[in-house]
C-alpha cells in the first residue's frame, strides 16, 4: 500500500546586476531580469501547473494531495511581479489538500555557517507562510536538501517540526529502501522522509530524454512502477523542482498531460493513495535509524556540497559573506540586513561552480553568467560595497552598542 508523497520546491533567485568595482550605489539586484524571469516562469510553469493541480484536487475530491516548499525570496518576487500566482497558491491552500513546508526564507546555506541566522530565517519563513496561507509548517526541508545528524537534532530541538526531508542517497541507506520512514540518529520525535531519487528523476530529468529506453513516459507506465513498490515500501517520496513542469520540461514534451493523467492511473490501484508529508509522518512508524555524520545534499552525482563550496572562490565568497554577520547586524539598518540576507541564496555560489563548467550541462543552463569567474567577481564587488555601508552606519551608531535582544529584534520579518 504505497502512499505517493509529492513535494515541489518553488524558488527563483534574486540575480545580481552587473556590478563593477567602480560602481558605488546600493542597487545590487537586477530588477529587470528578475522581473522578466519571474513573469516568464509564472506563465510557463507556476500558473498552468497550479491551475492543473487545483483542477485535479477538485476532481479527485480530496484524494489527490501535494506539498510545496516556497522560498521567501520567491514569495516577495511573486508579490511584486506576478501576484496572480500567489492567489492560485492561496486557492490551493484553501483546498486542505496542500501542505506548505518550512525552510530558510532566503534559500540559504546558513545552517553551515551561522546557527543563529539559520534559525532566524526559518522563523521568518514560518511567519510568512502563516501570514499568506494560514498554515504553520510542520515538516522541514533544508536548502538543497542539505542534511546531517546535527541538522536533525537542531530541527527537533526547535519543537516546531515533526518531520524532516532529505535525499535518499545510496551511501546513507546502504541496501535499505527510501520508501519507508526513518528516524534520524539521536532524535526521539522527528521522522525522516527520504527522496526516491530514481522515480523522482524519471519525471524531473529523464521525462523528455529520447535516448532514455523508457521514453516516452506515460502516466500508466509510471503508475505501474509505483504499484511495484507495493509490499516493499510505505511511501514513495517524489521530490522535485516545481519548474520541472513547463520550464525544465517544456509544455510540448507532454509533461502537463502526464501530470493530468497520473493521479487517475495511480489511484486505479486500490492500495495506492496520496499523502502530504505531515500525513506520512502521522501514518507510519520509522522502520530504522539513519546515521548521517557527514553532510549530504541532492546535487549532482556526488550528493555533497561541491556544487556550492567546491572551489576556492566559492568558499572564499561565502566565508567573507558570513564574516560580515556581526557588522551587518550591528548596523541596525534593515536595508543592509535584507541585502546581506539576499546574498546568502545558495544560487550565488552555484554560479561560481567550476565543476562540469566544461561540459556545458545543467549547471550552465541555470547560470546567468558567462563563466563562474564573472559571477565571483560580481558577487565580491557587491559584497565589498555592502561592507563599506556597514562601516558607514557603524560610525554613525558609534555610541550605541547592541544588546543580544536588540540584535534578534533586527531579525524580524522585513518583507
Amino acid at each position: 500500500m504505497p502512499s505517493v508523497c509529492f513535494y515541489f520546491q518553488v524558488h527563483q533567485p534574486l540575480r545580481l546586476r552587473h556590478y563593477t568595482v567602480f560602481d558605488n550605489n546600493h542597487e545590487y539586484f537586477d530588477d529587470f531580469k528578475n522581473g522578466s524571469v519571474c513573469r516568464k516562469v509564472a506563465n510557463k510553469c507556476y500558473l498552468p501547473a497550479n491551475r492543473l493541480l487545483l483542477d485535479l484536487i477538485r476532481k479527485f475530491d480530496g484524494r489527490f494531495k501535494v506539498a510545496y516548499s516556497v522560498t521567501g525570496v520567491l514569495l516577495e518576487q511573486l508579490q511584486r511581479y506576478s501576484p496572480e500566482v500567489l492567489s492560485t497558491f492561496d486557492a490551493l491552500a484553501e483546498t486542505g489538500c496542500v501542505e506548505f513546508l518550512g525552510e530558510t526564507y532566503y534559500h540559504s546555506l546558513s545552517f553551515l555557517y551561522s546557527r543563529r541566522e539559520f534559525l532566524a530565517q526559518i522563523e521568518k519563513h514560518t511567519d510568512v507562510i502563516k501570514h499568506l496561507f494560514g498554515q504553520t509548517p510542520k515538516v522541514f526541508r533544508n536548502t538543497e536538501l542539505i542534511y546531517n545528524n546535527e541538522l536533525a537534532a537542531l530541527i527537533e530541538a526547535m519543537g516546531q517540526f515533526d518531520g524532516i526531508i532529505t535525499e535518499g542517497a545510496d551511501h546513507i541507506l546502504g541496501d535499505r529502501s527510501p520508501d519507508f520512514l526513518y528516524r534520524p540518529k539521536n532524535c526521539r520525535h522527528l521522522k525522516l522522509l527520504l527522496k526516491n531519487y530514481s522515480l523522482s528523476d524519471d519525471i524531473a530529468f529523464r521525462f523528455s530524454n529520447r535516448d532514455w529506453p523508457e521514453w516516452p513516459l506515460t502516466a500508466e507506465k509510471f503508475a505501474g512502477w509505483i504499484n511495484d513498490v507495493n509490499g516493499n515500501g510505505n511511501v514513495v517520496n517524489l521530490f522535485m523542482d516545481y519548474e520541472t513542469f513547463g520550464e525544465h520540461q517544456w509544455e510540448d514534451t507532454g509533461i502537463f498531460d502526464f501530470v493530468k493523467h497520473m493521479p487517475e492511473k495511480i489511484l486505479a490501484h486500490p492500495d495506492n493513495n496520496f499523502k502530504t508529508p505531515s500525513e506520512v509522518v502521522e501514518a507510519f512508524h520509522p522502520v530504522d535509524t539513519v546515521d548521517v555524520p557527514h553532510i549530504i545534499s541532492w546535487a549532482d552525482t556526488e550528493r555533497d556540497l561541491s556544487a556550492w563550496l567546491g572551489n576556492a572562490m566559492q568558499s572564499n565568497a561565502i566565508h567573507e559573506l558570513y564574516r560580515l554577520e556581526r557588522q551587518v547586524k550591528n548596523s541596525q539598518d534593515p536595508e543592509i540586513l535584507s541585502d546581506w540576507r539576499k546574498l546568502q541564496a545558495s544560487d550565488h555560489f552555484y554560479y561560481m561552480c567550476t565543476k562540469y563548467f566544461a561540459d556545458g550541462d545543467v549547471h550552465k543552463y541555470f547560470n546567468p553568467y558567462d563563466s563562474p569567474y564573472d559571477s565571483y567577481i560580481n558577487f565580491m564587488n557587491v559584497l565589498d560595497n555592502l561592507q563599506s555601508r556597514c562601516g558607514e552606519t557603524a560610525k554613525e551608531n558609534k555610541s550605541f552598542n547592541l544588546s543580544p535582544a536588540a540584535e534578534s529584534a533586527g531579525l524580524q520579518p522585513i518583507c
Partner: protein, 434 residues
C-alpha cells in the same frame, strides 16, 4: 611548406605556430620541406642548431637537430612577416644605404644590390614565388602548405607547375592587421590564395567567418585547426632578480604594439585600475608601429611612472616576464588566434582575453572581455589582483586546460586534411586517366 619565419628568427605568433605544427608533424613521421625567405640576422640568439648553413646560392638547405624529418630550404629574400608595402620600401632603402656605406659608396655595388633585392614588396613576393617554383621542380612532395599571404603566390605558382594540391593556412587576415584600412594589394593576394587553394585552414572559427564573409570563400572549403601550445617547463627565476618590489602587482601586455593588439585599451584600463589601486605596475612587452604612440598615451594619461616598456622580448626574457606577472591581458581588436595567452597560462599566469579572438574559442578558464570595454577590463584586472582565490582558481584550472591543447592534435587534424586531399586528388587522377 612555405613559410616566412621560424624560431629563433621570429617576431610574432606565426613563427611559433609554424614551429609547433612542424615539430608535431615531424614526430608523426611526416616529411616536410620548409621553405623560408632567408633573413637570418645574427643579433638574435639561437637555441637551435643549423646544419650545413648556407651556401651562396639562391636557395640553400639546412636541418635542425630535433626535427629529423624536416628539411629547411632558404631563399635569398628579404621577406619579413608583418611587413606592409610601405615599411618594406623603407627597409630596402635602409639596407641599400647600409651596404652602400659598407662598400664605400661605390656606384657599382648600388647597381648590383638593386638586382639582388626586389624594389618593392610586391616584386619581392613574386621573386620568392619564382624561386620557390625552381625549388618545387627539384623536390619530391605530395602537398603544398602555404602559411599566410606572402607565401600564397609562391604556393599558387608551385601548385600550377607541379599539379600538387594547395593548402593555404590563414594565421591572420588583412582585416585583423589593418581593421577597415585594408591594403588592396594584400587583400587581393590573400583572396587569390584562398580562391586557388584546394583547402583553406583557418586558425579559429573567428577567422573562418572572416574568410567566408570578407573573402567570399565557400564554407565547405574552409576547415578550422586551432593552434596548440608548446610546453616549456618553467624557468626558475626569483623575483629578486627582476628589480620589482614584491608588494607590487604586475599586469602584463605581451605582443606587438600595433593597432591589432589594442595597446591603447590596455592603457585606458590601466588608468582606471590605478584609480582604485596603487601598488600595480603595467608592463608592455613588445615593439611595433604604435610603440611611440603608446608611450605618449601613457604620459598623457598621467600614468607614465606606472607603465614600463621593455621592447621586444624573446626566449628566456619571455619566461622571466611571465614569472613576474600576476596577470596577462590581451585586449586584441581582432585576433585570429593568439598563442600568447596559452603560453601565459602554461607559465601559471591567469589571463584576460578579448572576445574578439580565436583563442577565446578554446579557453574556458580565462576572463573574457570586449576589447573596447575598458571599464570591464579594469574591473577584472582589479578583481584578479584583489582576490587571491580568483587568481588561484584561474591559474590551476587554466594550466590544466592548456595541457589539453596540444600541437599534436593540430598536426593530426592537418594530416587528416592532407589525407582527404590526396584521396580526392588520386580519384581525380583516375577519372582523368579513364
Amino acid at each position: 611548406m612555405l613559410g616566412w619565419e621560424f624560431p629563433p628568427f621570429i617576431s610574432g605568433g606565426l613563427g611559433t605556430a609554424c614551429y609547433g605544427l612542424t615539430k608535431a608533424m615531424n614526430r608523426m613521421g611526416i616529411h616536410i620541406t620548409f621553405v623560408l625567405p632567408k633573413s637570418v640576422q645574427s643579433q638574435y640568439a639561437t637555441h637551435v642548431k643549423l646544419l650545413n648553413p648556407s651556401s651562396r646560392n639562391a636557395s640553400s638547405s639546412f636541418r635542425i637537430d630535433e626535427l629529423k624529418n624536416v628539411e629547411f630550404r632558404t631563399i635569398e629574400s628579404d621577406l619579413k612577416p608583418y611587413a606592409t608595402p610601405e615599411s618594406y620600401q623603407q627597409r630596402i632603402e635602409d639596407t641599400i644605404r647600409r651596404k652602400r656605406l659598407a662598400h664605400g659608396g661605390k656606384a657599382e655595388s648600388t647597381l648590383g644590390l638593386e638586382s639582388d633585392y626586389g624594389s618593392d614588396l610586391y616584386n619581392e613576393i613574386h621573386r620568392y614565388a619564382a624561386l620557390a617554383v625552381e625549388l618545387a621542380r627539384d623536390e619530391d612532395f605530395d602537398i603544398i602548405h602555404a602559411h599566410d599571404w606572402m607565401t600564397y603566390p609562391a604556393g599558387i605558382a608551385s601548385a600550377a607547375i607541379t599539379g600538387k594540391p594547395l593548402i593555404v593556412h590563414v594565421h591572420s587576415t588583412e582585416f585583423d592587421r589593418s581593421g577597415e584600412h585594408v591594403n588592396q594589394m594584400v587583400y587581393d593576394i590573400e583572396r587569390q590564395g584562398m580562391q586557388r587553394a584546394d583547402k583553406v585552414i583557418a586558425v579559429s572559427h573567428f577567422t573562418r567567418s572572416i574568410i567566408i564573409g570578407r573573402y567570399g570563400i565557400s564554407g565547405d572549403k574552409v576547415e578550422v585547426v586551432h593552434n596548440g601550445v608548446e610546453r616549456n617547463g618553467n624557468g626558475d627565476w626569483s623575483l629578486a632578480e627582476t628589480g620589482i618590489r614584491s608588494d607590487e602587482k604586475i599586469v602584463l601586455f605581451l605582443g606587438r604594439i600595433t593597432m591589432q593588439k589594442g595597446p591603447e585599451y590596455f592603457l585606458y584600463a590601466a588608468k582606471k585600475v590605478l584609480e582604485v589601486m596603487s601598488n600595480v605596475k603595467f608592463v608592455m612587452a613588445g615593439s611595433g608601429d604604435m610603440m611611440h604612440r603608446a608611450i605618449e598615451l601613457a604620459a598623457e594619461l598621467g600614468i607614465g611612472h606606472k607603465v614600463l616598456f621593455t621592447g621586444f622580448l624573446r626566449g628566456q626574457d619571455v619566461q622571466k616576464i611571465y614569472k613576474m606577472a600576476d596577470l596577462y591581458v590581451m585586449p586584441s581588436v581582432s585576433e585570429p588566434f593568439g598563442i600568447a595567452p596559452l603560453e601565459a597560462l602554461d607559465n601559471d599566469v591567469p589571463v584576460i582575453i578579448s572576445k574578439q579572438s580565436g583563442v577565446s574559442e578554446v579557453l574556458l578558464h580565462a576572463l573574457k572581455v570586449d576589447f573596447w570595454d575598458v571599464n570591464e577590463i579594469a574591473n577584472k584586472v582589479v578583481a584578479v589582483l584583489k582576490y587571491p582565490p580568483l587568481q588561484m582558481t584561474l591559474k590551476s584550472h587554466g594550466n590544466f586546460e592548456v595541457r589539453k591543447l596540444r600541437w599534436r592534435d593540430s598536426a593530426e587534424k592537418c594530416a587528416r586534411i592532407y589525407q582527404d586531399m590526396l584521396v580526392t586528388a588520386w580519384e581525380g587522377d583516375q577519372t582523368v586517366g579513364l
